[in-house]
């Protein structure tokens, strides 16, 4: 698959949040989820996580026939590296880097980063392709989060039954958005972008 195909598939057709449900967390716990800093943090963390798991999977575990242990080695080897990088960014003097580091630290131990890394490493990609798939999955997640945040503002102003206010309305909206994302067929993308 071409790089454009990988980007479109990872961001839309196989969206981490709307297709795999990864990183679906209670509303109001994500902080500045819609900001560009958050988008950069998501893309970078997912890109590095995908790269690290690819290296662990292909270079160390596959030659020994131990691929199924990948999640254990990811947890004990890759997570500390990711946390170290996030901490360096957090302690940086640049405000943007510091905010990215803070957001990245919140993300690392969660189903989103683990799930995206697993998807990218098991997708049959080469190393650069896995990096691109990881980054685009992060950006796709941010896009879905951004759209849902915009919807939340509208839903708060609408006259909903009490029981549906907040999380239930958001879940149903996310479901309807997921239906729209399902319309982007990966086979079609593959045919279009090569």
């Amino acid at each position: 698959m071409s790089y454009i195909g990988i980007i479109v598939t990872s961001a839309f057709a196989a969206n981490a949040l709307l297709t795999y449900g990864l990183g679906a967390v209670p509303d109001g716990e994500k902080g500045d989820s819609g900001s560009l800093v958050s988008a950069l943090a998501l893309a970078l963390v997912d890109c590095i996580a995908a790269g690290l798991l690819w290296v662990i999977h292909r270079l160390f575990l596959a030659p020994l026939g131990l691929e199924s242990l990948d999640i254990f080695f990811f947890a004990v080897l890759a997570v500390p590296i990711l946390k170290f990088i996030a901490r360096i960014a957090y302690s940086s003097r640049a405000a943007v880097l510091s905010r990215m580091g803070s957001r990245a630290e919140d993300l690392i131990v969660g189903s989103l980063v683990f799930g995206v890394a697993l998807l990218s490493s098991k997708g049959g990609y080469s190393f650069p392709e896995a990096l691109v798939a990881g980054a685009s999955s992060g950006l796709g997640y941010w896009l879905a989060e951004f759209l849902l945040e915009a919807l939340r503002e509208r839903l708060e102003l609408s006259d909903l039954p009490q029981a549906f206010k907040g999380a239930p309305a958001m879940l149903i909206s996310a479901g309807l958005m997921a239906l729209a994302f399902m319309g982007i067929d990966s086979a079609f993308v593959k045919g279009l972008a090569g």
């Binding site: 709307l18 990864l22 990183g23 679906a24 999640i71 947890a75 004990v76 239930p168 996310a174």
Partner: protein, 208 residues
Amino acid sequence: MNENQEGFIPNPVLSGLVGICPLIAASKSLAEGIVYGLGTAVCALVLGAVSPVIRAKLPDRLRAPATLGLSAFLALSYGFALKAYSPAIAAGLWLYIPLLAVSGLSLSVLRRGSAKNRFRADGRSRQIDVAVEALLFLVTAAIVGGIRELVGLGTLCLPTGGSSPAVLTIADFPPLKTLVSPAGGFILLGFLVAGYRAILKASRRRSQ
């Protein structure tokens, strides 16, 4: 059921939206719901029992990596056991079994396990809370999986061992296949959360 009752433990999924990621995408059938719910419950129970020991024995900087390593080990072991018991169900949950390592319920148990006091203000052990929450998670996962499969496909898949699980055909109607997709998972969960809130509200009103 009344949230004002002493000792009331809210449903972690329907009240706190804890660990909803696998319920949305992975629990597409009764069998997958039960199997995933059981895995989450077992991991949460073990982590709940071990985290006070880790807290007491290990220095601060080693606690997080040790608990994450243990969590990943539990997920891995459950995955191997499931693959041996039912390869078909294991294949259906391919991405989500490794993600037991970072399931929302386990993470919330670990967060509470890091509290110094192992007992709540009313004297009840926090481990009992974890056990009740784990059971509620398992039941909710089974209900979500069951409803999605029944309404979505008209069948119920039982978590029997072997290469292909037993499937009961329950209803003969045009299936609503959307419900088996992640989109259907989001929508169903939204309605279940709203229903749970409505029931809580009604019981609160009745008790007043």
